[in-house]
């Protein structure tokens, strides 16, 4: 494994100009994903998780756009690419998996058509070879009798099988990076586990870097190697999954963990974080989380707010939780 991360996001800022001012759904976000590694990105709806993923593949819906920061794919900057150059990278270097397998597949084209089209687009192979590869791709994601099912239409597959087809489509041109945007949210719980296991297996076997966007802490705990917690467009915490889940440093992460039901907890009442995430157009000064934080102090309400860089590199918090939690950092 080389030292260059497959994906390196550096101080990424995505802005949406509106009549009431400029919104920042992604604000100064930085992280790396190495080959064979799964980075989980969690947060509430609207925290900027999906927006980060869309920014990476260059599929931001107008008028959202990247205004500063860098996105490096295997060391090459891709945030400056446009149109045709970017299209060639999509599918070939980076694949994307969407939330709802029912709507991600074109209902009027067979699964084989959609696979071979993608393969032919990116790999210089013949029609015949493309079809063979398509069958292999379906087999790899665990579709039984792939050869006979390749000419089926999407509606002839069940939800879980469709998500496998979606994964096969995202992987068929052998990309180095997969961005999975809530890949399990629309599925039955029993199928979720299978899909997560499949993603994990493909990541290990192929050495693909995976960015797993989800709001499901269970999926993160199951699949991710490292986790990035996002809040109001900013990174709240970033670290190895074991450490973040067992000893959260950011009060938000800790609150998120406490509000996740675990079987081991018995019948204790779940805690919840008071209040709601602030609207992007109406962010408080300082740390965006301070109005909901039980540990908030004066410093938290003042600009500039805490970032990973100005704090301990793990949690964007002036007063991180943990052994020496009363110790103020960066002061």
């Amino acid at each position: 494994m080389t030292d260059t991360p497959v994906l390196s996001v550096r101080n990424l800022v995505v802005e949406i100009p509106t009549r009431h001012g400029v919104l920042r759904p992604v604000d100064n976000v930085s992280y790396d994903i190495r080959a064979g590694e799964i980075l989980g990105v969690v947060g509430e709806s609207g925290a900027g998780k999906s927006m980060t993923g869309n920014a990476v593949v260059g599929l931001l819906d107008r008028p959202a756009r990247i205004t500063s920061g860098e996105i490096l794919l295997s060391g090459q900057p891709i945030h400056t690419l446009k149109g045709e150059a970017l299209r060639r990278l999509r599918g070939k270097k980076m694949g994307m998996i969407f939330q709802d397998p029912l709507t991600s597949l074109n209902p009027l084209l067979t699964v084989g058509d959609q696979l071979t089209e993608t393969i032919l687009e990116h790999l210089g192979v013949s029609q015949q070879q493309a079809r063979e590869r398509a069958v292999a791709a379906l087999e790899e994601v665990g579709i039984p009798a792939a050869r006979s099912r390749i000419d089926s239409y999407p509606h002839e597959f069940s939800g879980g099988m469709r998500q496998r087809v979606v994964i096969a489509l995202a992987l068929c041109a052998e990309p180095d990076l997969i961005i999975a945007d809530e890949p399990t949210t629309a599925l039955d719980v029993s199928v979720q586990a299978q899909i997560v296991a499949l993603l994990k297996r493909l990541c290990r076997e192929r050495g693909v870097a995976v960015m797993l966007v989800t709001h499901d802490m269970g999926v993160i705990a199951e699949a991710a190697d490292r986790v990035a917690v996002m809040y109001a467009g900013r990174l709240a915490e970033l670290g190895p999954v074991r450490e973040v889940l067992t000893e959260a440093r950011h009060p938000y992460t800790s609150g998120l963990m406490a509000s996740t039901p675990l079987a081991s907890q018995g019948h204790e009442r779940l805690r919840q974080i008071p209040g709601a995430m602030p609207r992007l157009g109406n962010l408080p000064d300082g740390c965006a989380f301070h109005p909901r934080c039980e540990f908030a102090q004066d410093r938290c309400r003042q600009n500039p707010g805490p970032t990973l860089d100005t704090c301990d590199g793990r949690a964007a918090c002036w007063f991180p939780l943990g052994a020496d939690r009363k110790q103020e950092v960066g002061a």
Partner: protein, 327 residues
């Protein structure tokens, strides 16, 4: 699928029976035909005899049944005005209307789909917006006005194209065609545009709306995320999904092109069935009116049936049995 087709055919027959009833009722609403047929000097005996001859003494249901029986064989009786069998007159006039409808239909379909795709893909472009604005005129101007405007510009002012009639026609068997002579083709241009313009703008707007809708779908986004070329996304992934609703409307429009040909044919004095119908109304020529009504309804019903069949060809989701469905 077979059950579906049988059900649709059954429904179509029902519709035709009702239309037949309307057509038949027309005869009875405009007075007793016996009065018209016998002169001033008639005796009650004459009237009775003729009534019996014509079957007018039979109960309503029996008369209706005989009307349907005759109509099904293409026999609508004699035209009051021309004294010839109505079927013969219709067949003679039909080629003109069908050729006009065919050309306008093609114009509307291909022009509408092409412009619809263009305006959807170049949503923000200047030319797309100009087309959209102009199309508003197409939708809101009445057909006869467009016809008269075209005549004014291209026949009166510029003198390029004839303002009325069908030009020279060639007879092939029982069919007369204007496609083979220069004057015939020239004469076709203005009426075809007049008749097709409204349908074209309608199809264009429909295609545009559907296309914009489809382009927002997840599978289009996913296709983009896989690096599929824009050309393939627009014309392979999106267009096919756009066409399902477009086909319904287009099919129905095809029927109305033939029906609405009445106005265009009147403006251009086009010797088709529409003009025949207008003239028939002026002379209260009931058999011709009834026959025209039946003919148009058969066409409408037939086209609807074909459109329903086309769904199966385009959308694979309709082809499978319901029981085999996913979840």
């Amino acid at each position: 699928m077979l059950a579906y087709i049988i059900r649709r055919v059954f429904q179509s027959v029902l519709v035709l029976l009702v239309v037949g009833l309307v057509a038949f009722a027309m005869f009875r609403f405009v007075g007793d035909p016996v009065d018209n047929m016998l002169g001033q000097e008639r005796t009650q005996a004459d009237i009775e005899r003729l009534r019996e001859q014509l079957g007018l003494d039979q109960p309503f249901i029996v008369q209706y049944w005989r009307f349907l029986e005759q109509a099904a064989q293409g026999n609508f009786g004699l035209s009051y005005r021309q004294g010839r069998p109505v079927a013969e007159i219709l067949i003679e006039r039909l080629p003109a209307t069908l050729e006009l409808a065919f050309v306008s239909g093609l114009l509307a379909l291909f022009g509408g789909i092409a412009l619809g795709i263009f305006t959807a893909i170049r949503r923000r472009g200047v030319s797309a917006n100009v087309i959209m604005t102009v199309s508003l005129i197409g939708v809101s101007l009445p057909t006869f006005l467009i016809g008269i405007l075209l005549i004014y510009v291209f026949s009166v002012e510029l003198g390029w194209l004839p303002s009325f009639g069908r030009g020279e026609v060639t007879r092939i068997g029982g069919w007369t065609t204007g496609f083979l002579t220069e004057s015939g083709l020239k004469a076709l241009i203005l009426p075809a545009i007049t008749l097709g313009l409204y349908q074209m703008t309608l199809i264009m707007r429909l295609v545009r709306t559907e296309m914009l809708e489809v382009l927002r779908m997840d599978y289009i986004r996913f296709a983009r995320a896989r690096g599929i070329r824009e050309k393939s996304i627009n014309f392979r992934h999106a267009l096919k999904n756009t066409l399902v609703p477009v086909i319904t409307i287009t099919g129905l429009q095809l029927g109305s092109i033939i029906a609405f040909a009445i106005i265009t044919e009147t403006v251009f004095q086009w010797p088709g069935v529409g003009l025949l119908f207008i003239n028939a109304i002026q002379f209260v020529d009931i058999p011709v009116m009834a026959a025209y009504l039946m003919m148009i309804s058969v066409m409408f019903v037939g086209i609807n049936l074909i459109v329903d069949m086309l769904y199966f060809a385009i959308d694979p989701r309709l082809r499978v049995d319901r029981t085999a469905g996913g979840h």
